[in-house]
């Protein structure tokens, strides 16, 4: 893949920065559960759009940074992101042809998977996550997906990120 010139990497960086910012933005106590998994959504988009880039490396780095940001154990988010990234990388040719609605469905499943890995860590550390509200983030993430997709696609085409 050395023939392809990368271009506009700063857009990816900026989008991830914004995702981190949205993830760290404080919300009123009840609304916290509705927060979509922004970094995962952004990663999802870039994996889908630019699979020739080293996206798994991006996924891993994003995961490590998010572990530092959220003060979780190192490698937890990274593990989950790399697994999901790998999945998308295998399936991107099919996923691209799905309509936005179906893609939202796939996002829903991916975020569920991500939340499942997080839940595993919570239970190992004796945190009681005992309400169904925990899974709400998957729902809000899939609702937020079309928005993220359209926004990032516009930016990508404007700046010509390759």
């Amino acid at each position: 893949m050395n023939g392809i010139k990368f271009h506009g990497g700063w857009v990816i960086f900026l989008s991830l920065f914004c995702a981190f910012w949205l993830q760290a933005l404080p919300l009123p106590a009840g609304l916290d559960l509705f927060r979509p998994q922004w970094p995962l959504l952004v990663l999802f988009y870039w994996t889908l759009a630019l699979p020739h880039r080293p996206v798994l490396l991006y996924a891993w780095l994003t995961g490590i940074f998010q572990d530092a940001l959220q003060s979780s154990i190192f490698g937890l988010h990274a593990l989950s992101y790399v697994l999901i990234g790998f999945l998308i990388l295998r399936l991107y040719q099919r996923l691209r042809f799905l309509s936005l609605l179906y893609q939202s469905g796939v996002v829903f499943v991916c975020v569920l998977f991500h939340l499942f890995i997080l839940l595993w860590s919570y239970r190992l550390n004796d945190y009681s996550v005992n309400s169904l509200m925990y899974w709400l983030a998957a729902l809000t993430s899939s609702i937020a997906w079309p928005m993220v997709y359209l926004l990032l696609r516009t930016v990508k085409n404007r700046v010509n990120v390759v």
């Binding site: 404080p26 154990i73 190192f74």
Partner: protein
């Protein structure tokens, strides 16, 4: 992950990454800070006056109490000198402000705006005006994470102020509840008892209020009583915290 869980190797890299994330945290804190500033700027004259009067009244009360405390402290020191025990009464304190950053919603962690550049160290006790809040969990250069006493993974050595009985207070994951799981059924502990830090374990200085017992129930089928307590500090409403440096660590001859 195992490396992070079981060794100290990744403490330093994490601190560096946290430094890189410093702008993210600052930006995230921005809306709260702006709204706070706007609110303070827009307050009316009458409400400011009212608050001023209230503070003056409280100041008077506190200074009256303080006079007594100074005398008591002097007496205490004299008695301790007689007993040949050296206890540092003075603790060095510095004020840190909360950075409003959403960390993991299920862990009871907050970020404050003092870091290792200001001499903050892990396991440093953190208080507010009403009592113990928690201890420093992770430090980076300019900010530090504080784990609250209500975190399910946190326990603090306490002492019943009335009787001097020692116990451990565990966090429950609920901001308004601590649990004391290993109190014998026949122990002398009642509702309303104040729990203060016992100073055992070396982490927290002795004598700061932690929580107030709010229910004691004896179940004959269990070997221990079920005791719960409410933290005296309002763990969900503080904006400023006190970081404490104690010199009691070395040669603590109680």
């Amino acid at each position: 992950m195992g490396l992070d869980q079981n060794t100290m190797l990744l403490v330093q890299p994490r601190a560096y990454i946290n430094c890189a994330l410093y702008p993210v945290r600052q930006l995230a804190d921005l809306p709260a800070r702006v709204s706070n500033t706007v609110r303070t700027e827009l307050r009316g004259r009458s409400s400011l006056k009212k608050e001023l009067n209230l503070l003056k009244a409280r100041m008077l009360l506190e200074s009256a109490r303080w006079q007594r405390i100074e005398a008591l402290e002097a007496e205490n020191l004299r008695l301790r000198a007689l007993l040949n025990s050296s206890l540092q009464v003075e603790d060095r304190v510095s004020i840190a402000e909360l950075t409003r950053v959403a960390l993991d919603p299920y862990k009871h962690l907050v970020t404050v705006n003092r870091g290792s550049l200001d001499g903050v160290f892990p396991q440093q006790p953190v208080l507010d005006a009403q009592g113990v809040i928690g201890q420093v969990y992770r430090v980076s250069l300019q900010d530090a994470e504080v784990i609250l006493i209500s975190d399910p993974g946190h326990a603090i050595p306490v002492q019943v102020n009335r009787t001097g009985m020692r116990a451990l207070a565990f966090g429950t994951g609920n901001l308004n509840r601590l649990e004391l799981p290993f109190i014998p059924n026949n122990a002398d502990i009642r509702e309303g008892d104040l729990l203060v830090t016992s100073g055992l374990g070396g982490g927290f200085p002795a004598g700061y209020p932690v929580a107030q017992v709010d229910s004691v129930s004896n179940d004959p089928g269990r070997s221990f009583a079920l005791v719960t307590a409410q933290p005296t500090a309002s763990l969900d409403r503080f904006r400023e915290v006190l970081l404490v440096w104690t010199n009691a660590r070395k040669g603590d001859a109680l």
